[in-house]
Symmetry: C2
């Protein structure tokens, strides 16, 4: 058992304010969270007792949309419009990746998530088996989604993965998913709808990221991507839409009706000149919102603090209203909304019986002082530099700048450099 | 003498690429920068030799517009439009600040600059004497500008400070400045023009930050703020304009003609819903650009990495062009452009005889791997977490998370908390 005491605790339970107290971890789960109980603590046998020194303990952030293994393209394929970037810089290079490459490149991303207090990611990428292996070897929590498109993965494979990777108590889960409407022929989409129906399962996909994609779909089907995909019955059991930059009022009503989560990716949407998602309108419709970094080729960093600031700052700009989207709402998206979007019900808040997916935030740093409002400090001035510790499923994977993922960082960097070099030379 | 060896070096001299080498510091100045010369190094007596372990050495960032001591309002006065924020939340609280308060609050900001690799700041705030003292006590470089407005500071005081704080070889300089067109009666502005003429000096001010301010000036004078201020002859010797979000083509021509630097403040402009500055147009006109965080009440963090990403990401969004504003140009703004805007000619690049204002960036972190392109890594995925060391004028002020500023961090946090509490209770 691990005890973290002398902490400021933000459970993220609805309307619960930060309080001073302690938290116990038994195996993978939280066994106590509340006021300080030193007498009871003295009776226990502890593997480790951590003095938080007044720093903040809160649930880890959930990166609800990413393509982890794209680390190999970081700072290589920049400064191009979305479709050109995909077709000229991303797809040709990706075709050269081996499953083993994806294993190593995913590990590099997991390390970066840990530095940003992200305790779980939702990963859409090519080879679920090696993505899963990377997460399991690191002790990290990952929801992998299908990435079906006309050139890779098949409905049969997706069904197989769905059956393999949905065991209870595993760190890795798999959800049905396809890359996007514009990269799949109608048969694929209909097949996806059948799978969703068969398993009563949510489905994950990119949607309405750039204007050209919406225009093409309107020309092809007479419907927006949202309306077209919905007309095929794909989202009868919910799921997640990534991006949702260019949505009509009717689109948002479909999202709400189908209980689909929207995962917003503000940094990527700026960098690829896709636009700014209508977060305020989504909030008015009470749509479940989550935040993702998108992949490291389009962002280029995997940092929830940057995304959180952008969610509110861009909404303020877009609505011409400096009071738009409160910091509390942003934190909720990054933590509870992310867990919900990823279909993870046991690591959303700090509570007894929940998974111990949590982080320690260093408040004794100049950017966190003075402490008028913890939530605003986190969203408006928080930074990776404040992440002192990241724990997934009761295991400390990152602490005071050191990684505990079973591999030396230098080895991961070395592998990533070798893979990048090989692929860019081959291409 | 200090020697930093085994480094990757980015001098920021025009068109010079990063190279492997070493750098020597003698007193406050750089005495060697170039390829590794271990034999010559062996002949010297070193106070300290630092193995950079392949990490990056580059000139420090320059925060070309800020109000440091506003740290006391961080996360207190959020989520309000610019003028309401100024009139209801900022001005009444500021009126309660003592010069000593400003001393302590400025120190808190300096600590945050150090964590973000910022080696000098351009500070517009109320009491230059205690701002100067804070910087001198920390060993930090600050250009203070006048903040003349109808309620505080006088032309006489500004002239006095200009004469006191412009000694050669000092860490602290003072430049003529006023808060903004809309907070000064015409007599003030005309007095400022006379001072500029008398000393052949540049002048610093906020300009065209929000739409209402431009509209008011047009109604009052028939001219934009830029045209109106220029018509009074204030900028005959250049200076800096802060923000410049709402500028006409003619305004930009005046800026170019008067050799005025534009200091852009992207995070603040989003958070206060002021807008996005036309950076691409300014670049086309070859206007000198620099970057500022603005004060911690409007940003709320003092982080050059966030600002750098925003400069390019927002330009990409604004221009609907993912290739707008290359990372190299952004770095140039944050370093060389900042120095130029602040009238600092001796700490812009790494070169023999220049001031040793430099930083070490940790490349052995997941967000910096793989290294395809150092400049893009810095701008697109760099973070405070990568700042291993910050040196101003040859003195290490921050290294591996520790501060060397003559005061314990806890003492600075304590003071800031006390001051905030007192002021918010009084108000």
């Amino acid at each position: 058992m691990i005890r973290i005491y002398n902490a400021k605790i933000l459970t993220m339970k609805e309307d619960e304010k930060p309080f001073d107290g302690e938290l116990w971890i038994n195996g993978t789960q939280i066994s106590y969270v509340g006021k300080s109980i030193p007498r009871e603590a003295a009776k226990q046998k502890w593997e480790r007792q951590i003095d938080a020194k007044g720093n903040l303990i809160m649930p880890g952030f959930k990166n609800a949309h990413t393509h982890s293994a794209m680390t190999f393209l970081r700072s290589h394929a920049d400064d191009l419009p979305l479709l050109q970037w995909l077709n000229e810089q991303v797809f040709p290079y990706e075709a050269k990746l081996t499953p083993e490459d994806i294993y190593h490149l995913s590990k590099l991303a997991i390390m970066e998530y840990l530095t940003s207090g992200i305790t779980a990611n939702c990963d859409m990428y090519l080879t679920p088996d090696t993505i899963a292996q990377a997460s399991l070897d690191c002790g990290y929590r990952t929801v992998i989604t299908g990435a079906l498109n006309d050139f890779s993965q098949s409905l049969e494979e997706i069904e197989k993965w769905y059956r393999i990777y949905n065991q209870k108590d595993s760190l890795v889960h798999f959800q049905l998913g396809f890359h996007a409407e514009y990269t799949n022929r109608r048969e694929n989409l209909m097949g996806m709808a059948e799978l969703a129906q068969k398993y009563h399962a949510p489905v994950y996909t990119h949607n309405s990221e750039g204007k050209p994609e919406v225009k093409q779909c309107l020309e092809k089907t007479g419907m927006t991507p949202t309306a077209y995909m919905d007309s095929l019955g794909i989202f009868n059991y919910g799921g997640s839409f990534y991006h949702c930059v260019h949505m009509t009022e009717d689109d948002l009503d479909i999202v709400k009706k189908r209980k689909i989560s929207v995962v917003t990716n503000p940094a990527s949407n700026l960098k690829l000149a896709s636009g700014i998602a209508p977060i305020t309108e989504m909030m008015k419709k009470d749509i479940c919102l989550a935040i993702g970094t998108d992949g490291p080729a389009s962002n280029n960093c995997l940092d929830m603090f940057r995304e959180m600031f952008l969610v509110t700052a861009l909404a303020k700009y877009k609505e011409d209203d400096a009071s738009a989207v409160d910091a509390k709402d942003v934190l909720k998206m990054a933590v509870v909304g992310g867990a919900r979007a990823m279909n993870l019900t046991d690591c959303d808040v700090l509570d007894i019986g929940k998974q111990a997916d949590l982080i320690m935030i260093d408040l004794q740093q100049p950017n966190m002082q003075p402490i008028h409002n913890l939530e605003k400090n986190l969203v408006y001035s928080g930074s990776k530099q404040n992440v002192k510790m990241t724990m997934t499923a009761g295991k400390i994977l990152y602490e005071n700048g050191e990684f505990f993922i079973g591999t030396a960082p230098e080895e991961v960097y070395q592998k990533a450099a070798e893979i990048s070099k090989r692929i860019l030379q081959e291409a």
